[in-house]
Symmetry: C2
Subunit: 195 residues, 2 copies
Amino acid sequence: MPDETRGPRERMVYSAAQLMRTQGPAATGVREVVERAGAPRGSFQHYFPAGKDQLVGEALLWSGDFAARWVANYPRTTSNPTPGGLFTHMVKFWKDEFTARGYARGCPIMATTADLAGSESAANEQLRTALDQWEGAVIDELVRMTVPRRRARRLATLMISTLEGAVMSARVRHEATPLTTVVAELTPALNAAVD
Amino acid sequence: MPDETRGPRERMVYSAAQLMRTQGPAATGVREVVERAGAPRGSFQHYFPAGKDQLVGEALLWSGDFAARWVANYPRTTSNPTPGGLFTHMVKFWKDEFTARGYARGCPIMATTADLAGSESAANEQLRTALDQWEGAVIDELVRMTVPRRRARRLATLMISTLEGAVMSARVRHEATPLTTVVAELTPALNAAVD
DNA sequence: ACACTACTATGACATTCGTCATGAAAGGAG
DNA sequence: CTCCTTTCATGACGAATGTCATAGTAGTGT
């Protein structure tokens, strides 16, 4: 939610992330972002002299940080951390999102990949950074559960990939069942890594 | 590849699918599609009187059909069909794509979901149809391997979700390792469904 | 009071977008 | 031949895009 106490710059980055993940960065106009952020139009060119690319890039970094923080918060939600539990925790974010706010909003990383990964946009680097930060947080949690680092990297790739795909399926179908399905099907395989 | 023998209509649908999956449907203009298809500009409004929505929708249906046919072709590639083998076969398409043509092109279904799933576009229905057709083909193959239908549905969801997410990760990273990783990590769990 | 930076305001630029209107060829049927 | 449907050609429309130029205000430090 947009915090009025935060400055216009932060509100623009946040609004950009929200719009990007519902309609993709390509269809998200800077005027639209500025208006939604309740920011003065002239401020955009002041805070983001590099233009739209910069705005999109910062929205991506914000998203990556948000995802990483969500993952890192997992230990505080349980007394018995497991890989399957972590995956459930990651999925829970989207279940809550979908049931509370509908299926209009997706993942900013997926949306930007779809629109810009094929171009030579400057956002490509931040895309990578955001995904790395998110995946790094998952790896850290798995390592904390005594999963060997090398294996943790592989499991993190699996978890994030499956989650992203399930989010896509859920949005297409307008139902959360793909999320619950992948959790149920993946949990045994994930938990086998710590036994 | 665009077949010159096919009519301009089919070429436009194909070109639309190709452009959509590299830059998203939002950033794909009808003029661009027409030009790339080598089709006369005036023909667009004749073949697609409903405008861009119709073009995007048909490109999606084409994509769903393509994916389903690829899946249905699996039995002809092996003498010992297994769920893990099917998943490997699905992943193989993208490995070939990425190594041969780079990481510019992704999945049209993912791209359209990212750009249009949040809107009330007419493409939403064809999105669903395309995904259903693809998933239906996977289910059929699993059932053919004596996987119970109910379980096959769940595994198909898992396979497609994981594949889509891995494709996303691979495009972000500009490397195919996420694809090989998810295959290796998922194969045992998938094959356990037939033993 | 002055100067300097941070921020906001507004208008205009050239492009591109999807769509529509209008008309011209093409080609088979009678 | 004429008629008629299909297909293609071309120009224009209003709206929206990202970006830039220019000028104004606020506020701080000296």
